[in-house]
Symmetry: C2
Subunit: 288 residues, 2 copies
């Protein structure tokens, strides 16, 4: 059996399993690190685990040569900066522990058991309260100097939009223009109350298409998987495909501008469990 932890800003989900079929799971509120991590360790106590995988909110120290590898670094979340998440779990349980940033873990889950089983190079996006992207290539989740922060790429303000942007760092970056809080701030209402307004979703699709064009030209991925709360709007993905076709304008990866887009921009298959299932895959890779 493997242990899996999806460490989020509001809750930790923990599970035990050997595959995407989890045999036990629980949810632990994210309070202070001491309390939350103690509850995580308590959940796993008594189980005979081969390894544990963690898919965690970031930013994380993922430098393999670092003494603080697997720590949360500087986060606005009170009390959690410089928390050695991986090392505390490993010390308490005495088994190998692996860690990836949340979208990286979800990407690994989709690669092994979901919407990316048949491709080697793909991007996984989540668009909700924030925007994150993970990139998988060469049989691993990509990290370089650190992990990607794809929510903060440059996009161009659409001509019919005068919203200043909602990102405290970059203003009108992708996340600042297209995450849930940006949609709410622009239109003056909760996202849940905006589903009947076509102009909201056409503009949203244009920003997502801009970002996917950029990612397409930087990475030439074989697929883009996109989930998250904002994608719950019916028909948004078709709008994104349509605007992406226009954005690509037939240049490079030209076949994508045609019918292949339906197989290029797709929904996740593991849904809300992608991170947790990805953590099982992280654990597998440690001992497999």
């Amino acid at each position: 059996m493997y242990g899996a932890i999806e460490a989020g800003g509001t809750k930790f989900r923990v599970a035990i399993g050997e595959s995407p079929s989890l045999v036990a799971d629980a949810t632990i509120p994210t309070t202070d690190p001491e309390t939350t991590i103690a509850a995580v360790i308590d959940f796993f106590g008594g189980h005979d685990l081969k390894a544990v995988g963690i898919a965690a909110f970031g930013p994380l120290d993922l430098d393999p040569a670092s003494d603080t590898h697997g720590s949360i670094t500087t986060t606005p979340k009170p009390g959690w900066s410089n928390t050695p998440l991986k090392n505390r779990i490993a010390d308490a349980l005495g088994v190998p522990v692996g860690i990836a940033v949340d979208v990286g873990g979800a990407a690994l889950g989709e690669r092994r058991w979901g919407a990316a089983r048949d491709v080697d190079t793909f991007v996984y996006f989540t668009i909700g309260t924030g925007i994150g992207g993970g990139f998988f290539t060469g049989n691993r989740i990509h990290t370089g100097y650190g992990h990607p922060e794809m929510g903060h790429i440059v996009i161009a303000r659409e001509p019919d939009d005068d919203f200043v942007g909602h990102c405290p760092f970059h203003g009108a970056c992708f996340e600042g223009m297209a995450a849930g809080p940006a949609i709410s701030a622009r239109w003056g209402d909760r996202v849940a109350n905006l589903h009947s307004r076509e102009e909201v979703w056409d503009l949203e699709a244009r920003y997502i298409a801009q970002a996917f064009r950029t990612v397409t030209y930087v990475l030439a991925p074989q697929r883009i998987i996109v989930g998250g709360g904002v994608l719950q709007h019916d028909g948004l993905l078709d709008l994104v495909r349509s605007h992406l076709s226009r954005e690509l304008a037939g240049y490079g990866m030209a076949a994508l501008a045609g019918s292949d887009l339906a197989n290029y921009v797709v929904e996740p298959e593991l849904g809300q469990d992608a991170g947790l299932i990805g953590a099982i895959a992280i654990a597998q890779d440690l001992v497999g």
Copy 2:
């Protein structure tokens, strides 16, 4: 000895060597494929080669499973569309032949013998008549669905700029706003005549910094190497670093916003020979 070919739109450069020190080289004008390729084969005739590497203008078919792997696909260059460049050279010389897109080859050269010897994940940009970017990670030049086309990513028009953009596909993409022809069209003069105008280079640096921010957040590279004709302007790289620091705004890869930028955005070490030397590296990898 290895053979090296740098296949460009106006000239082919060919060389023989075992390392970055080339022992023989020649330049062949790019006319029609028959004539040009025959001259290339003629140059190598009589030499005992172990393998040949090609760094070529694209777009290229780089799908390893494709029958037309190593072909130039659809190019505006008259007569060159669907030219099986790799296979013609391989058939004529009877040795293994490898191929990469030009910026990918240059990236490989810089990795082995140049400005990226000490890093595993980096981006190589060339900014001149066009803009191209190659990405190296996991010990290889990255390709996915195809090769990247980093010149065509989204950037945001700067508030003091009303230039419509010069890209026939995307208008105001990175290449459409910041390549040499875009600079000339915006300011109404040849780039060579604009060196004394500070506003030209400050704006240019802002566009390059936008693109480097996006690439930083998508790839988290350890370094960005940037060369090409536009970078010949004294002081441009310092301006780029300064604007990139502002663009990153201390978010993610935060250390880069400080003094590390001088080691993050750097010039190539192999200069004009990066592609040709990269082709030697491509050949080495085939048999080494």
